[in-house]
């Protein structure tokens, strides 16, 4: 019976994976915060839809004096439809982002374990072929992770575009609220009713704006981190390629 020993090493000093892990965790955190902030979008869109229906009824009751308001509420309905479309896209994006998050977290864990294995093998008395195989396994794990991080960065860009779409809806809704308020002042007995519509719409617009402000901050940070991660990942892949561990 013979006995040999390999130092366990303790799994410290995984510089490449820890750099990526720190950034990736921050990116995932910002994505979670952004989606959390957008969580109220459903309710706000529904409120705006109901308001546009009520406004249209009020405009109908006002007859000729409500003609302009009716046109404005129809435009509001188009905005609500646009919001519903963005909302659907955001739901798909959320599912995709969480799925990518899960793949990234698993990839990070694998990366750390392969890095530890490669460190132990590089520090041991293994032959060149074994060292190359271990480093290649690490490199392949890194490549898969970098590809997923690239997909994540694209998802964050998509999220940013959707956030911008909501901003446009908010801005146009704000203008409509202003115009309804102007129409209200010339609506005689219907002034109070139209002003209530305008004020309520402003209130929803404010809520939407607040939501956008909160989410945009997280989206902006996520965009920066996504880009930074992509760079770090590509640098790592370049190093691994120049060391001959990746084709």
């Amino acid at each position: 019976m013979s006995q040999t020993a390999t130092d366990g090493g303790g799994g410290t000093g995984s510089l490449r994976s820890s750099r990526i892990e720190t950034r990736a965790n921050a990116l995932l955190g910002d994505c979670r915060r952004a989606f959390h902030a957008f969580g109220e979008l459903d309710e706000l869109a529904e409120n705006l839809r109901i308001l546009s229906l009520n406004a249209e009824l009020a405009a109908g009751r006002a007859g000729e004096m409500g003609r302009a308001v009716r046109a404005l509420t129809q435009y509001t309905r188009e905005l609500v439809n646009r919001l519903a479309q963005i909302q659907g896209e955001m739901n798909s994006l959320r599912a995709r982002t969480y799925s990518l998050s899960s793949t990234i977290l698993r990839g990070l864990l694998n990366l750390q374990l392969f890095e530890r294995a490669a460190e132990l093998i590089n520090a041991g008395s293994h032959d060149g072929a074994t060292r190359t195989a271990a480093n290649r396994a690490f490199a392949e794990t890194m490549r898969t992770l970098v590809e997923t991080l690239g997909d994540m960065a694209s998802s964050v860009e998509d999220l940013s575009r959707r956030a911008h779409g909501i901003e446009e809806v908010v801005s146009q809704s704000d203008s409509i609220a202003t115009n309804i308020a102007i129409e209200a002042s010339a609506a005689g007995v219907h002034e109070k009713e139209f002003r209530t519509v305008s004020d309520t719409m402003r209130h929803y617009v404010d809520d939407l704006r607040k939501m956008i402000d909160e989410a945009s901050d997280s989206v902006r940070r996520a965009l920066e981190k996504g880009e930074s991660l992509r760079r770090v990942g590509l640098e790592n892949l370049q190093t691994l390629r120049s060391n001959g561990f990746l084709e």
């Binding site: 019976m1 013979s2 020993a5």
Partner: protein, 252 residues
């Protein structure tokens, strides 16, 4: 991680890997085994959890090229047995066969959805490591897992017994891989077997089966291995042990 050669006859070898000095204290110590065949092929038996993967890969590749691993056997589904599956699949050849109890195929897919498994039927089967080296996969259901197998090598006369015979031995009480004093070793395995093994009927059937085998070494996944007369001592001891101690808590 230490590597001990349990058996060697030309290219036919049994290697035991244990005592990962670098693992966190909270991670339970496991023994990993590798059977090598005379034609260079190798099979990993319960290669361990993901925490054990880095030192295990490093230790294994000092003895066996990872390209030569043609099979991986998972005795059951526990994470300390199987959570390294997706990592091993990355370093082993795509054609490496992954033998798992049929009962656990759809559960282990949660660890690695791209893995293709070679299911072991409830009755067990024989698998070839390489050349003339074959392992008999013996049913050990409900000991403790409901879908569970042990691996017996009739040429090396070694039984890999999974959790059966497992013990939580403090590092300071270990001086090698084998039990040196069976009576004092009982203290390290009694609570474990009483609590984890739930079926006296399964235990009796397993003892009956295993008693018919010629066993020089019984090698569990945790703690120390038994050799010579200690194998018989273990079988006598487990035959009399009251199992299913968790039921006491349910009766309260």
């Amino acid at each position: 991680m230490n590597c001990v050669t349990l058996f060697r006859r030309e290219g036919h070898r049994w290697l035991a890997f244990s005592n990962d000095g670098g693992k966190p204290d909270a991670v339970i110590d496991t023994n990993q085994y590798v059977v090598c065949a005379d034609d260079g092929g190798a099979m990993l038996l319960d290669p361990g959890g993901m925490e054990a993967f880095p030192p295990m890969l490093a230790a294994l590749t000092q003895e066996v090229a990872v390209e030569n691993v043609r099979g991986i056997f998972f005795s059951h589904q526990d994470p300390d047995v199987s959570s390294s599956l997706p990592l091993w699949r990355r370093v082993c050849q795509p054609e490496t066969r992954i033998h798992v109890p049929a009962l656990w195929v759809s559960v282990l897919t949660h660890l690695d959805r791209e893995a293709t498994f070679a299911p072991i039927p409830d009755e067990g089967m024989e698998v070839t490591v390489g050349g003339q080296v074959k392992l008999r996969l013996i049913p050990a259901h409900y000991l403790h897992s409901p879908g569970n197998f042990h691996a017996y090598d009739p040429k090396a006369r070694i039984l890999f017994s999974g959790d059966m015979g497992g013990a939580l031995v403090p590092a300071q009480a270990k001086s090698g891989l084998f039990v040196e004093n069976f009576s004092s070793h009982v203290a390290y395995m009694e609570t474990f077997h009483r609590r984890w093994m739930g079926s006296p009927r399964a235990r009796d059937l397993w003892v009956e089966t295993v008693s018919r085998l010629d066993i020089d070494i019984m090698a569990p996944q945790h703690g120390l291995a038994f050799k010579g007369d200690d194998v018989k001592r273990f079988l006598d001891w487990i035959s009399r042990l009251e199992l299913g101690s968790g039921c006491a808590a349910m009766a309260k």
